[in-house]
Amino acid sequence: MSEAVPPGAHDGSPAASLDDLSTRPLNIALAGQPNVGKSTVFNALTGLSQHVGNWAGKTVEKKTGRVVHEGRQIELVDLPGTYSLTSGSEDERVARDYLIMERPDVVLVILNAASLERNLYLVAELLALPYPLVIGLNMVDVAESHGLKVDAHVLEAALNVPVIELVATKGRGLSPLLDAALRFADQPESFKPNRPVVRAKHRPVLDQLDELLEGHSPEGYPPNWTALKLLEGDADMAALVKHDLPDRWPAIHDVLAQHDDAYIDIAGGRYDWIARMVRAAVVEPRRGVTAVTDRVDRVATHPFWGLAVLLAVLAALFGITYTVASPAAGALSGLVLGTFSDFLRSALAGAPGWVSGLLVDGIVAGAGTMLSVVPIMVVFFAVLGLLEDVGYLTRTAYVMDRYMHWIGLHGKSCVPLLLGFGCNVPAVLATRTIEERRSRILTMLLTPFMPCTGRLAVLVFLAPAFFGAYAPWALVGLIGGNLVVLALIGLTVNQLVFKGSRSAFIMEMPLYHVPNARTIGIYVWRNTWAFVKKAGTLIVIVSAIVWALSTYPGPQHSDSVLGILGRFLEPAGALVGLGDWRLIVALISSFVAKENSVATLGVLFESASSVGAAGASLATKVAAVLTPAAAVAFLVVQMTFIPCVATITAIRQETRSWGWAGVSIGLMLVVAFILGLIVYHVGSLF
């Protein structure tokens, strides 16, 4: 029997809603394995009209975008990149739930022509679902440059599924791709693909399962597909059937227990089918090309040189950020806090004192200071995005694997941690690629120890005033020390909590490819825009609140609500050299967002001073109240202080437990305090 249900075999299939197609937007899903250029296709199709949200009840990022093609409205949904639909990762669950529950009109599958066989595995799985497919054969230019030619027409004839050649980076083939999708949206019954067939050995078992199900299945799931997933040992499906069809489950369970290795055979059958499809389509076999990837990998994945490359890349990342972005940030800060503040203050000269105070000393000093770190974000995300797009980030996983074992993790944890340099929140989400819960939780606990751009912004802002000409070296030392601390904590937590158990490492190393400016541009734009929005909303509000709480009841700042709270905590702060309540308040406000420390210092120090203080002098004023040892201690505590609220929320959602979020807060609080103690007291000896 065929693996799949014929189209329209279950009620409510796309065909049933044909009549309202002219009025409602078409629902088209974009699927594909990782590293096929799917985001490039999505970006090219939707441009900046995309909307980023979350899947219902999940923290997995959901990207949707509106496209108008041939006068038709299309709602394009970017499914998470998944290798299959069966192995049970969070991403696969999201993709699968979407396909089953939302019933897209058409599914676009993007394949990488350079790794066609493995990519077709997902097509083999998708063909078991009752939706029309259109295949976008991407990166045909890359494949050809490697001496590999895939004949799209032959592949199309073999599969009887439209195959459109794409070069998404140049926008080639996108229009025909949508043309084909529209054809099927209007006539879903015209989709008659060749579907993979289950090997003879297991057909009787599949029939037996079908009989036991008697056309029943958990709501929304096609019965044939249910039987197939059960035979594939799909734990989610088994749980669903057990719950929804308790009467039938015992008999089904008996059958499954006798064939618990059928999944290998089913997968083998799919690869047999793929081999037949590909045999005719690949027309120009390899001609002994030594590809760039081989040559680069000989260095980049070498146990010693690979590590050297990684260190050099990180040095370049911070070097570029510091040298390019810092001056720009300084200039912007001077403009906002100096020129603009002065202008605003004089413009508001006639208004009541509190209006000028709130606007100039509160909001502009706070949110304005924040905006001045935008150049740092832009440069940093641009370099990080470049490394990811080229394919280098996965190599760090390979190089670091042996060292990650020391802290009970494996190479895969390296990618989320590196993304943590950008922002801890996507880093926590990126741990989804780690299959074992234990490794995943440990990685999540370590992620907030990665100095994110918010924290780096604070460092970069204050370091020149604290360390003068030695600032770059101080930054290297602080970030390096931060990473050492991270490793030590990993080592300790792994030994104490997880008893040093190990987990499995397997991941794809995509071929290196030429970076795409548009992909990186959108990456930078999205991250920076999210930050600017935060500065424009959350940080404006917090700055206003900090200003109000630090001004009233008054008359002195130290008599205000925050002043009283800060002074109450001064004895604890004094232990780590932070005897000034304003620094304590700055730390506490970093809970909202790490970069808020600067905003808060801006409010507390600016308003204490006379008119027209430029941004550069804010750092100088902070430096003035601190001894050198206390200055270092402040930065160390700032870097390891509790995760920001967004990170905590992400950890809570990903672990589905407030417990682990609490552990993360407690762990960081204790570590920050101990490190502050050590740094301050050792530093004071000199």
Binding site: S115, H410, M507, M509
Partner: protein
């Protein structure tokens, strides 16, 4: 019959059996490491992860996981026949 972890860099082998653990085996399958698939070992330093190529895709595989994959080595003279069309390969004549 031997284990993938014992195959030197530059050698080829056909997978004959996957690890018994279902979770690991399923992840291997999704990444193309199936019984019958031909694997080319790109890097294996005796410890630390292996770099392999299977179904024209490169995978990093922990040494401990490679030690659970049973393989049948492919003799050097069969290589020319058995090799598939994959980009990025360092071929014998190259």
């Amino acid at each position: 019959m031997t284990w993938l972890s014992l195959m030197p860099a530059g050698s080829r082998a056909v997978v004959s059996a996957l690890p018994g653990a279902h979770g690991l085996a399923k992840r291997m399958i999704a990444l193309g490491l199936t019984p019958g698939a031909e694997v080319r070992v790109l890097q294996n330093r005796g410890r630390g992860p292996l770099l392999i190529e299977v179904h024209c895709a490169r995978l990093a595989l922990g040494w401990g996981q490679a030690a659970k994959v049973a393989v049948q080595p492919v003799a050097a003279d069969e290589v020319a026949v058995a090799s598939e069309a994959c980009p990025g390969e360092l071929s014998e004549e190259g």
